[in-house]
């Protein structure tokens, strides 16, 4: 068989059209271009109960390109301007409406109803189809992942939310070990959850709207299936089904519910009474009608109801019962909730659409209220114009607030979710990219079950097995794998028609016996039984054929759910086209030959054809988690056997983009890869090409970034080489000096001098010049004239803090700011109430100084000062201060293998060991880091790196592939080095040779954001809290080190009473109080106010906190009494 080389070359092409952040963008595009329209269509009319003829109809909605209206001028706005000016990147939402004014019908087009935050990179974003040059002009980085929003200058990501799939039956055991079949139904209008529960051998239905569980047969009867025989037929006529149903059937007759009317009345009596919608025109429904409406609208709303016939719902409920009966017989039929085919991912588009729908409805009811108020008012000469009561801010601010706070509270669905959005971490490029692929699970973090946290086999290929945080959210927060795509909703209608054409028999025409016959196979579309087919294999083959031919959408999945061979249970065909499923592309294999040929790959990598062409030609298809069960996927071509249906594009795709940075991850112990995934996000590096123009609150940049000597294919695909975060350090793995214990590393001072690990630390300081109600405003003014031409040292102490101010009252660019220096010499007007009234001229305004001073510990330099404005803050000053930090003792470094360590000592170059050819390490790592961590990948990285340096090229350490150690060893020998990568080193201190050979070579090292300068802290004396007079807590407040309970216990055990007394009282909150020995109360100024006497008052030292406690007890009418004793 001909071997196809470089299948992986398809991956970059795939990433161009799908994957990583594309799902965010696709889902948002879907919302903007389709769903928004549907939402408006579903809620198009507003009518008034005041005037029957009144109507306001929303015909069409349109979301424009982002723009902003300032001073009545509409300008288009670019994302970078939003970041700089704290604006929202949003586009106006306009609608076409028609409504009645008086007796006329008026049509208006393009009425603005609000602003919609726009996702960067979506179809409505200015950044689309811009060349690198054009992007540079508007201050944008071409490698930015996009897919996030900019809300008031802050970049926000809507995290992918993981959920149980909607509209599917899930059979599980409840707390009391009863079998339950539950369905979470969700449509545009309603979200509801229905359960069929089997208690004491009887089936009943549980729903929130019912006060109690309703026997299932009553539900059937209320839905119009009156005869018991019919009910039984719906469920199945085999003896075991009849047996299981017998008690339930009995129950309804016992309750004397035989007809539909009786059943409806029975249910009607058990509906939770809602708050009475009282109103003059409120229609009062009978209990019976109410029950019917609930059955129609609330129970299983996702199933269509045609002509008030609830037959389809009955069939669905029967199916739920069947599933329970099957599960009772065979416990393996209980659904696995953690199985990834049962999960759906909710993306930005869906979440925004939920929000928009809710907001739009509230917006309409707001208009309705105004209409109702204004219509009866006939006194006005002009007839009432409904278009005047559109409130722009309503939709804009609701959307903006939700995205900026991350609180999704939709009252209609009783949905209250916090933390849906997060600020896009801009610590490094990888941090931002990693955030875009993150999946947040709705599962509670506190519950102690391991199921949802553990790695499920069904997550293979779609979720990264390495990239998850440690600690409380371990396994709940996940990341997408490299080639995963998340589907969006697809229309169902044409699928149903297609199924009929393929020979499906309509379920509506069949009764239970025929539906569940052993030789027929039920066909489900999105979990709803649609019909049966007698030749499932042919049906599925035809269906897949059509999909590969492009007649069916590529993301529609079909799979054959086979029952266990021995059991008599029915096998089914499941077709899914709903949104939120995880799919990944696979090469199709037919007759042991992969359809992708070398020619295809060459053409794709040359750019003649795209990845989509391969899909269109039916050579690659998307397979979702469920359909994967019907496939046999070969990892490589040599594994292809007779039954193989698909071939992986490349095994590296099972990892995500963050884990993809690790060279040789398959040689590491798995937790090490997980640690690196967490640390890769903390590495200091480049953020984007526009990093120097950004105004983030905190920005950490590396001065001399390098591409890794050992790269991976993933690194190339995600452009890590363009925005790297680390340096290739020459590493010697040996013990040196004893300052390298516990993972500490030894640095070469000369390397540090020459720029190793040098970082730029940029911080933003902000100040807002306010405008007040009395038309006065803050001003910035020039510094005192005395500072002119003098350096800081020459100035008197009280003027020193003004020394770097310029004539505009702002710090000079490039000047040094030390603690306390003023960077904005701001003055605020003195508040006066009479100015407004007396209308005094502005010249008379008095000002108080309110300068902004630099508060950081270490000195910084002023990098930039930006003055801007936005609708809320009209004079916004941002000062960007910069520091350059060279590595120092205690700064944290890490390789790409979860091997972090702090700098233990920085050694002069002449003391470092050196090899005979003059090589000298930048960094020495202790070999004790290896045995227990088993990071063999790091050793291979070192060898490959060394070989690469000698060859003058980068080497590959791609997962499950990469250059082989053997070849690396041979290359080393070729260049005159030892095969094993070891070198002969000489001690720099004595000049004597070291007693052993040392493993030396380049390893890519990352500098992590944790730096000593931000953490070091000491205090002798300092501030106290006012309430307890004890030292403050925390570094930022100059707090003390707490001698805690356990430390105290030690001292008590040891018997060091005086030390305790000194630590806990004298050095803390000692306080002299007067105590009256007679009454036991506190006295004051040697006088007891209780006894009105000063003879028994003594001075006592006690902790202030104790004194406070006693006094507070006294306040609560508890009398603490102090008894004194001579010591």
């Amino acid at each position: 068989m001909k071997h196809v080389e470089d299948k992986w070359k398809l991956l970059p092409e795939f990433l161009k059209i799908r994957g990583l952040v594309k799902q965010h963008i696709d889902s948002f595009n879907y919302f903007i271009n389709q769903e928004a329209q549907e939402i408006v269509k579903a809620n198009s009319e507003i009518r008034s109960n005041q005037d029957e003829n009144f109507f306001l109809k929303f015909e069409k909605i349109n979301i424009d390109m982002p723009s902003i209206e300032e001073d009545y001028v509409i300008n288009k706005i670019m994302p970078h301007e939003c970041r700089l000016r704290d604006l929202t990147y949003s586009a106006p939402i306009t609608v076409d409406i028609s409504y009645t004014r008086g007796r006329n019908i008026i049509k208006k087009n393009g009425i603005k109803i609000g602003q919609m935050p726009i996702m960067l990179g979506s179809s409505n974003c200015w950044l689309n189809n811009k060349s690198e040059k054009e992007l540079a002009k508007i201050g944008e980085c071409p490698y930015d992942p996009r897919g996030y929003f900019i809300i008031r200058g802050v970049e926000k990501v809507i995290l992918i939310q993981e959920q149980m799939s909607k509209n599917r039956i899930i059979v599980e055991l409840d707390d009391k070990q009863n079998f339950v079949a539950l369905v979470n139904s969700s449509t545009h209008l309603v979200k509801s959850r229905a359960e069929v529960i089997c208690k004491n051998e009887k089936f009943s239905m549980k729903q929130n709207i019912f006060t109690e569980e309703i026997p299932i047969c009553i539900i059937f009867k209320a839905m119009g299936i009156e005869s018991d025989q019919e009910i039984a037929q719906f469920i199945g006529t085999q003896p075991k089904f009849l047996e299981e149903m017998s008690l339930s059937l009995l129950e309804s007759s016992k309750k004397d519910v035989l007809t539909q009317e009786q059943a409806l009345n029975y249910i009607g009596a058990r509906i939770k009474s809602k708050i009475n919608r009282s109103g003059p025109n409120a229609i009062v429904k009978s209990k019976r009608d109410e029950a019917f409406d609930i059955l129609k609208d609330v129970i299983l709303p996702h199933i269509e109801v045609s002509n008030n016939s609830l037959l389809q719902k009955c069939r669905f409920i029967a199916l739920m019962i069947r599933r329970i009966i099957e599960a009772k017989e065979d416990p393996s039929k209980i659904d696995d909730k953690d199985y990834y085919g049962n999960k759906r991912l909710e993306l930005a588009g869906q979440l925004v659409s939920l929000l928009f729908e809710d907001t739009f409805k509230r917006f309409q009811s707001d208009i309705q209220k105004q209409v109702n108020k204004s219509l009866p008012n006939k006194k006005n000469r002009e007839p009432f114009d409904a278009s005047t009561c559109f409130n722009h801010d309503f939709i804009s601010s609701a959307l903006e607030n939700a995205i900026s706070t991350g609180n999704w509270s939709l009252k209609r669905f009783k949905m209250e979710r916090a933390g849906v959005t997060q600020v896009l971490g801009r610590l490094s490029f990888i941090c931002a990219l990693g955030m875009m692929t993150r999946i947040n699970s709705q599962f509670e973090k506190t519950r102690k079950v391991s199921g949802p946290r553990s790695l499920q086999p069904s997550q293979w290929g779609v979720l990264c097995p390495s990239d998850t945080p440690e600690g409380e959210s371990c396994g709940l927060v996940k990341n997408l794998a490299l080639t995963t795509h998340v589907t969006t909703d697809q229309p169902v209608k044409y699928l149903v028609d297609l199924c009929f054409n393929l020979g499906m028999e309509d379920a509506n025409l069949l009764v239970g016996t025929e539906l569940y016959d052993e030789n027929t196979f039920l066909i489900f579309i999105n979990g709803v039984p649609m019909g049966v087919h007698r030749n499932p294999q042919k049906f599925i083959r035809d269906f897949r054929f059509l999909r590969r031919k492009g007649k069916i959408n590529e993301f529609v999945s079909i799979y054959f759910q086979q029952s266990k061979p021995g059991s008599k249970l029915q096998s089914t065909i499941q077709i899914a086209c709903d949104g939120g499923r995880l799919v990944r592309p696979l090469i199709i294999v037919q007759n042991r030959i992969p359809l992708i040929t070398q020619i295809d790959i060459d053409e794709v990598s040359m750019g003649i054809r795209t990845f989509n062409d391969c899909i269109r030609e039916g050579k690659i298809e998307y397979i979702d988690v469920n359909e994967e069960n019907n496939t046999l996927i070969a990892l490589s071509e040599k594994d292809i056997s007779l039954n193989t249906t698909h071939l992986e594009i490349d095994p590296l795709t099972i990892l995500g983009c963050v884990a993809g940075l690790i060279p040789y991850p398959h040689h590491n112990q798995s937790p090490r890869n997980t640690y690196q995934c967490a640390m890769g996000k903390q590495a200091i590096g480049s953020i984007g090409y526009n990093q120097m123009n950004r105004v983030d609150t905190l920005l950490l940049l590396l001065v001399y970034n390098q591409k890794p000597m050992v790269k991976t294919k993933t690194i190339e695909m995600i452009n890590y080489e363009k925005l790297p975060a680390g340096q290739n350090a020459s590493v010697a793995i040996m013990s040196y000096s004893g300052y390298d214990i516990e993972d500490a590393i030894v640095l070469n001072k000369a390397s540090v001098d020459r720029g190793f690990g040098r970082a730029i630390y940029i911080r933003r300081h902000e100040s807002n010049m306010k405008r007040y109600a009395d038309r006065s405003f803050d001003i910035s003014s020039k510094p005192p004239a005395e500072i002119e031409g003098k350096s800081k040292e020459e100035l008197p102490w009280n003027l020193q803090r003004f020394h770097n101010l310029d004539q505009d009252g702002m710090a000079k660019i490039g000047s040094k700011l030390t603690k306390g220096d003023i960077w904005l010499n701001k003055y605020s007007p003195v508040e006066s109430d009479d100015r407004l009234l007396t209308n005094k001229p502005h010249s008379s305004v008095e000002y108080n100084p309110s300068p902004e001073s630099y508060k950081g510990g270490a000195p910084s330099y002023v990098d930039r000062i930006q003055i801007s404005s936005n609708p809320e803050k009209h004079f916004l000053v941002k000062m960007i201060a910069r520091q350059t930090r060279r590595p120092e003792l205690g700064d944290k470094f890490s390789s790409r293998h979860g091997q972090k360590g702090v700098v233990g000592i920085i050694v002069p170059q002449e003391d470092m060991p050196f090899s005979e050819n003059g090589w000298c390490p930048d960094l020495i790592m202790n070999p004790h880091g290896f045995p227990s961590r088993m990071t063999v990948g790091k050793m291979i990285e070192l060898m490959a790196g060394k070989a690469g340096v000698l060859e003058g090229e980068q080497k590959y350490g791609t997962a499950f592939a990469g250059d082989k150690v053997e070849d690396m060893g041979k290359l080393l020998v070729k260049h005159g080095y030892s095969y094993f990568g070891k070198d002969y080193l000489t001690s720099g201190i004595t000049g004597e040779p070291l007693n052993c050979y040392v493993f030396c070579g380049p390893v890519y090292y990352q500098r992590l954001k944790h730096m000593v300068q931000d953490k070091m802290h000491a205090r002798a004396r300092g501030p106290m809290t006012s309430l307890t007079r004890q030292p403050t807590e925390g570094r930022s407040r100059g707090g003390g080190q707490r001698l805690g309970e356990m430390e105290r216990d030690c001292l008590i055990g040891y018997g060091a009473a005086s030390l305790l007394n000194e630590r806990l009282m004298i050095s803390s909150d000692v306080c002299d109080v007067n105590v009256c020995d007679k009454c036991g109360f506190f006295g004051y100024k040697n006088f007891c106010n209780f006894c009105k006497d000063k003879s028994n008052v003594y001075s006592v030292k006690m902790p202030y906190a104790c004194k406070l406690l006693l006094q507070e007890l006294t306040c609560m009418n508890i009398r603490p009494k102090i008894k004194l004793k001579d010591s």
């Binding site: 040098r758 330099y861 003059g918 005159g976 720099g988």
Partner: protein, 304 residues
């Protein structure tokens, strides 16, 4: 002790193997390892050169910020042949600075129409007669190499920088180190047993020759002996002995070791000083240090 370390018993000899514009290779014979190492250490850390130490930035609109630029400037090697005529800044009696301890340079450039590379060629001394200046590298063919790039300026960007060059040593900052690297290796010593000739057949001899990654050995075709071609290339990898071990021959056929008191030095200069100058200066400094030490010990002896 004096037998081993004392004066007069040994007479170290230097044999210069190779000398170039930027490198010198010499053999230090009959010298104790401590002296050889001291020499190496001094060359790295104690031989003074000139480098930019203080930078005044009057204007900088380039993409690199001030500290970045200053750091880059500091690392530029300066021709320091006249370094002895300057004082260490800290030891100089002047207040802010004077011509005895510092040399002033300036870098004033604007990119007028297109991207402009700012290199060491643009660093001008305030005093044109100054002998301290950025190094201009000359390659093997005798042509001048491209100057060191400092920063690229885009159109209308400008730098206006004043630099002060001072004398210093590598101990304080690596920029003052006159060497890129100093290689010291103990002279390898390979003893080939006379019996090797008979014990190995031709094929095994060829294998032995090829086993060395540094190609130290050469097969003498006429005499069928294994000769040592370039002993200095041996880096103690022991591949040859491993090869023989695998052949299961007698152990003492080949012995790879090192000459205890022979050292091959290779000094690579940064260009600040000629390599031979670095070595001779290192010796002077070493002697100064020794005499200082002996002076101190004599003083303390006198006290006792």
């Amino acid at each position: 002790m004096t037998d081993q370390y004392g004066r007069g018993l040994r007479a170290p000899v230097i044999e210069i193997l190779d000398i170039g514009r930027y490198t010198i290779k010499f053999l230090l014979k009959e010298c104790h390892i401590s002296i050889a190492n001291a020499l190496r250490r001094i060359m790295i850390a104690d031989v003074p050169t000139m480098a930019i130490d203080l930078v005044y930035i009057n204007d900088n609109s380039s993409v690199l910020h001030d500290e970045f630029l200053s750091h880059r400037l500091g690392l530029i090697p300066f021709k320091s042949d006249t370094v002895d005529s300057y004082e260490f800044f800290r030891e100089c009696s002047c207040k802010p600075s004077c011509h005895k301890c510092s040399v002033e340079f300036n870098l004033r450039e604007t990119a007028l129409d297109d991207v402009k590379d700012i290199t060491t060629d643009h660093i001008n001394a305030n005093n044109p007669d100054c002998l301290v200046k950025p190094v201009k590298y000359i390659n093997a063919d005798g042509n001048e190499e491209d100057p060191i790039l400092i920063v690229k300026l885009a159109k209308n960007q400008k730098v206006d920088i004043q630099c002060i060059v001072r004398k210093g040593t590598g101990k304080e900052h690596a920029k003052w180190s006159p060497v890129a690297t100093v290689q010291v290796q103990q002279m390898p010593q390979i003893d080939i047993s006379p019996s090797l000739e008979e014990d190995l057949d031709t094929e095994e001899k060829i294998g032995l020759v090829n086993s060395c990654p540094a190609s130290v050995y050469k097969l003498n075709a006429e005499k069928q002996t294994v000769d040592i071609e370039t002993i200095t290339d041996c880096h103690q990898c022991q591949e040859c002995t491993i090869y023989l071990e695998n052949l299961n021959k007698k152990n003492d056929l080949l012995k790879v070791g090192q000459h205890e008191d022979h050292f091959i030095f290779t000094v690579e200069s940064t260009g600040a000083l000629p390599p031979e100058e670095i070595v001779s200066k290192a010796f002077t400094i070493l002697i100064d240090k020794m005499s200082e030490l002996s002076q101190c010990t004599e003083e303390s002896d006198a006290k006792d």
